[in-house]
Amino acid sequence: MQAERERPWRYLAPAAFLLAIVTAYPLAHVAWLSLERRSLLDPGPPRFTGLDNYLRLAADERFWNALGNTLYFVGASVALELVLGLAFALAVQRPFRGRAALYGVILLPWAVPTAVSARMWEWMYEAEIGVLNYLLGTQVNWLGSPAWALNAAILMDVWKSTPFVALLLVAALQGIPRELYHAAAIDGASRWTVLRRITLPLLAPVILVALIFRTIDAFRVFDSIYVLTGGGPANSTETLSIYAYKVLFQSLEFGYGSALAVSVFVLVALTAGVYVFLLRKIVQ
């Protein structure tokens, strides 16, 4: 009996060990670094300074600017991706010729490496010879004006990530039993009622999963913005990850940069926690 009870631990041990090495340890180390005054270029050894870096963070206008940019980016891009992804999934719900081919095409933006598509969008956004201004007949300085730059980055993210949301929802839609729709039709339910009472409630768990993925990704957004604008103009596109990168890898302030990284982690963890809580409630 004793041997049987031990068994799960023995099976879990390798995975737990691996997770401890590749996730828990680095995380704890970064958290520890965030409590130190440690910069590669500083003479002298690192000093333990407790919460000093976090106090500096609270008084750092650049941090609050980056946090604001990040939250705006997350809110706008995730909301648009969900609405557009859902609309697409509903539109292709019924089988038609070429549906499989359409899936393939729709996946393309998701499949292109972000750095590559960001370079492509940079050219399209170019104010003078870019195709976007040509098509719209406008002269907007997409990436160079503080009013537009972050929205331009959001548009690219929506283009890239909507397919991911759409495909998840397409799969979930196909899992909804047909009988429910037949019954609703017999009862004379309107399309709107069917959507609200049958489709959306049954999609909810998958919508939440899609939201978890997209929100976490959007919080950490780095490569697309780094290529498009580098955080400019005037820090109007500087997100928390871009700020953390500049502090960690350009000015080499490991202590303060770690505090920034920890703040991103805490925000993401909190958001994920809320989603998981909601998910449990729905499933129950």
């Binding site: 590669l40 270029l41 500083d42 003479p43 650049r62 170019e126 104010a127 003078e128 300085n141 990436l143 160079g144 004006s145 503080p146 604008t229 580098g230 955080g231 400019g232 103009p233 005037a234 820090n235 109007s236 500087e238 500049k246 890898f249 350009q250 000015s251 080499l252 302030e253």
Partner: protein, 416 residues
Amino acid sequence: MLTRRGFIGTLGAAALAACGPPAPRRGAATLVFKHGKLFGDPGVLRALIDEFERAHPGVAVREETLPASSDEQHQFYAINLQAGSDAFDVLAVDIIWVAGFARAGWLRDLGALERKAFFDGPMEAVTWRDAAYAAPWFIDAGLLYYRKDLLEKYGLAPPEYWNDLVRNARAVMAREPGLHGFVWQGKQYEGLVCNALEYLHSNGGAVLAGGRVVLDSPQNREALALMADLVHRYRVTPGSVTTATEEPSRHVFGQGRAAFLRNWPYAWRLLQNPSSRVHGKVGVAELPHFPGGRSSATLGGWQLAVNAASRHQEIASSFVNFLTGEKAQKRLAIAYGFQPARVALYADAELLAAQPFLGRLERVFAAARPRPVTPQYVRVSQVLQSDFSAAISGLKTPRAALAHAQARIEEILDAG
């Protein structure tokens, strides 16, 4: 970043072969020389190194190339030097890193350097607390490119003052529809700092003086205001300048769509290429200045330094002296088209015959100014980038931008 441009290129098979481990010899010193990738035939540098080895029996030099990205090189050096690594002896460093590395105690004091032989600007940048910690190797500085044909056509002279540039640009634009007046680098990045300092310095302004922050001054306000006015008031610079780095601005000018361009010397060869649309129509001048100031190009370039943890300090110093010596700089200048940091070479007939363009650069380099020499430069630059960007994109007035940057940089220097 611009200063690495000269080093971007493909790594030839020869250089790869040179990276392999050498056959160890008993009692022999092996120097490891870290540098960015060279554009062009790596054999020329190798041949020079072979010559050094022949002159120093028992010494072998191994080259090790670093990634082209300036940030990555900076990280590599800082991580290894901070750990006291002796895995390399001689390193090529960007001009803006020297003060930080020197204060950290990572570089050897090159006491015997013949200071007078190099241009003043690079010497200022490699000096920390009165000692030189790196030897200038190659030099870079901002230039004004202009459309010779257009200025001649309308009877205009290359501008001496910034106001002349505005007037000339407007005169040409009025008669050449669709043409931009003046393009430069206005994206929020290191290049913007280089551009903006040229206005500030050419009005007698500065960022630091005697260790104090002097950014919020009337001279700087006037200079930064002119920069913003180029875009918003005089409209000689297109609004898209806030996304422009070196290459996009060179393309606009190279396609014949601008009358003036601010760029580094590398652009000359590309603009003079026979396939270029402006081939033969381009002139070069010192950047304009304000009345009472003087033309002050921002300095870039690469220096050679000795790792303070190296086990072969003396021989490594000799190697630095050899590679930054007149003969080596001349050969490298001919092979790679770099601008040597030694003043005397600008009177060298053979070099000038091979690279005639160098003759026009001596004055520019003699007056070129380094970016603020401080161990905290990278952090200072991040503040300048964002506030200069705010000023030229119209988000802040020049006065507000300078006052803000002044306060932030004071914080950095007080804490550092």
